[in-house]
Subunit: 410 residues, 2 copies
């Protein structure tokens, strides 16, 4: 029986909250002073746990189990969204660290062990999954050259140099070393809470398809241009939003979500009819066919807007990540552990958010465990999970790690 | 018979186009180097015409007819919108200057004369009608202290100091010196062109009622928050835009216009459900009762959105300028002059744009003359008017000035 230390898990998580503390959450953007300090502190905790820590040239913090030839990889991230929650990321790396503490060095697991990866910039301050992509070899030097902090405008190269990482090599995975990757994360939604459950086992991570829809009309004076002759790009845009709100529920899957996150009217002045307008529109679903059906519906509505006039309407895909299916035997190990520690208080569910597990799943079997988010709140400093759920999740995670490693051949 | 010089009018207008030339238009923001140069050049042209020029502490350029005790005031502005048209403003000051040239000094007008005012910042880089408001005593030092260039962020105090105007007093009108104010301007719409007419006589200048409508929902993760529980402030906003588009035509007057010029979703990120959203909404009409009816319709729709939920909706008025009626005898003088020079090729019409005449009309009788805008284009560098229409307008303007002064008692 692999038994975690609840106090140690909670103490590590609370210590991490000190790095960039903001009210009850944290402000710890990638490569900020606070983030760098958190990474160095965590590398020290890895060493305390008997792991061999290293920080590589993209800012990944890696703790390697010495003497192990068959390993289970765990991990998550330590940077936060701006002024956001304390558990989004840290929960997963502390669970991994705790699993390493209770498994590595146990004679029952001779030659086997748990590694812990802290993946850089999962939150996307500089790009998309830069750390885990670098680790699986999906990131070029050119990608790093062009990356810029979306808030401060600082280049990634500058930020890496300031953190003393400019000349370090980037570590890349050798997949055959691993039996798979297991990541824990807060749910970030209210599904578990609404159903009165304590654990979620992820079946797949949604694909995120992001589009820019642009409207071109005629910029003109808002006082002297009669309504009848206007070509108001902003009006065409808000009309499309209405059409989406009517049409999309008819073609969506049970858990499909879609969001208009940004609207820009140009020039954006109170007395000028917008000549162009743009919206950022996103669709998420765990099923590829559903994503394709939703994009087709969007295409139809944009084409109908364009044909009806008076503005031109066009859309283009900015990003299309594929849904990532979690390995059935990883799901089974998590389900067995959940049943053991929590009876039937768990469910299988897709992840509506992206996670590093979707990147790691390209080169090894991957699985994910969710714990509940109070009120479903995420990406806000009020994000939280009960201590009891944090501790239960850590135990289920460690038990699943142990059972997967127990089955592994050395 | 008062006869203008077509070549002189066109030459002055084309010379002004050199200050800040941008393609076929100009970029000449208030108190920019180019705008200051244009003002100084124009003051020189005033002096050449026998006027006594002065630039005061708010940047108004004033040309006073020496020896006249009963005067007609003319004017407009010399700054432009950013990267905008060459005639928007200059047309009116050059017409005034030409009228002064052909009337002042004519023995038939002994003791009477035309003054020319170049009103600062009609285009609102720093505020609303700062120059003409200062002239009629509607502007406090505190208003100047708080004014900031909307594009560059430079304070008005800094800009005035850089132009050498920091310590100059501001000139204020003595209304009893004047029989009234006459301003010419490009139409900025397509009404005259659509009707095949060459001149517009303004009956009134629209009131501009500007509102901020704000929606408050709940900011949350765009992937993990189910559609059913979202409180998407952006969606509430675009729904209101749809409701306005359906309802407003039913309650509008023939020439009422309404515009959503800016939409802001907060935080404006592709993966975050907007927690708050704001739109700038504007209504214009020449009739007060119509404006009141339109505001009531807006209030109803906002209240309905708020009541329906799931977001809170509120609106507030940011600015309410009253419609300004042009004096009947000024309209009559313009109509007589138009009939004389253009037969029936003119019409009476409201002005959908605001003009300094609405400020001057608070202290004296005011009238306005429009010339056609090709294609109705305004606030864009392609704005234009045919030379023939420019010349015809200048002649009608001078004839109307002469007839008004001829009737004036010295």
């Amino acid at each position: 029986m692999t038994t975690i230390s609840p106090d140690r898990v909670l103490a590590d998580l609370n210590r991490l909250r000190d790095f960039g503390r903001h009210k009850t959450g944290v402000h710890r953007p990638s490569l900020s002073t606070e983030h760098n300090a958190a990474c160095h502190w965590f590398a020290g905790r890895m060493a305390d746990a008997g792991l061999t820590p290293a920080i590589d040239g993209i800012g990944n913090v890696y703790g390697s189990a010495p003497g192990a030839t068959r390993k289970l990889l765990t991990g998550s991230h330590l940077e936060s969204q701006n002024y956001a929650g304390w558990l989004d990321g840290p929960l997963g790396v502390v669970y991994g660290l705790e699993a390493a503490r209770v498994i590595n060095g146990d004679p029952a697991f001779a030659g086997r062990g748990v590694d812990v990866g802290v993946w850089f910039d999962e939150e996307g301050h500089f790009g998309h999954f830069l750390g885990s992509r670098s680790f699986v070899d999906g990131l070029s030097d050119a990608d790093i050259d062009s990356a810029v902090d979306r808030t401060s405008g600082r280049t990634l190269r500058e930020a890496l140099a300031a953190a003393g990482l400019a000349d370090k090599p980037r570590t890349q995975v050798k997949p055959s070393d691993y039996i798979g990757y297991l990541e824990a994360h807060i749910e970030q939604g209210d599904w578990l809470e609404a159903k009165g459950l304590n654990l979620g086992i992820v079946t797949s991570i949604v694909g995120i398809w992001q589009f820019s829809v642009t409207f071109t009309g005629t910029q003109n004076h808002a006082g002297t241009t009669r309504m009848a002759i206007r070509r108001d790009a902003g009006l065409a845009l808000t009309d499309l939003c209405g059409a989406i709100a009517r049409r999309f529920p008819e073609v969506a899957g049970e858990r499909t979500v879609w969001t208009t996150g940004r609207i820009t009217l140009d020039p954006g002045a109170p007395s000028i009819i917008p000549g162009t307008a743009e919206m950022l529109f996103q669709i998420r679903d765990a099923d590829l066919a559903t994503l394709q059906r939703m994009e087709a519906a969007l295409a139809d509505l944009v084409a109908a807007s364009d044909a009806a006039g008076p503005c031109r309407a066009r859309y283009q895909a900015l990003r299309k990540s594929m849904p990532a299916v979690m390995a059935p035997h990883m799901q089974a190990a998590l389900a067995d552990a959940a049943t053991k520690h929590a009876g039937n208080r768990y469910t299988r569910m897709p992840s509506g958010a992206g996670h590093d597990a979707q990147i790691l799943s390209k080169v090894m079997s991957a699985g994910m465990l969710f714990v509940p988010s109070i009120g479903g709140i995420s990406h806000h400093w009020t994000e939280n999970t009960s201590d009891a759920d944090i501790v239960l999740g850590a135990q289920v995670f460690a038990t699943a790690c142990a059972s997967l490693l127990r089955e592994a051949e050395v």
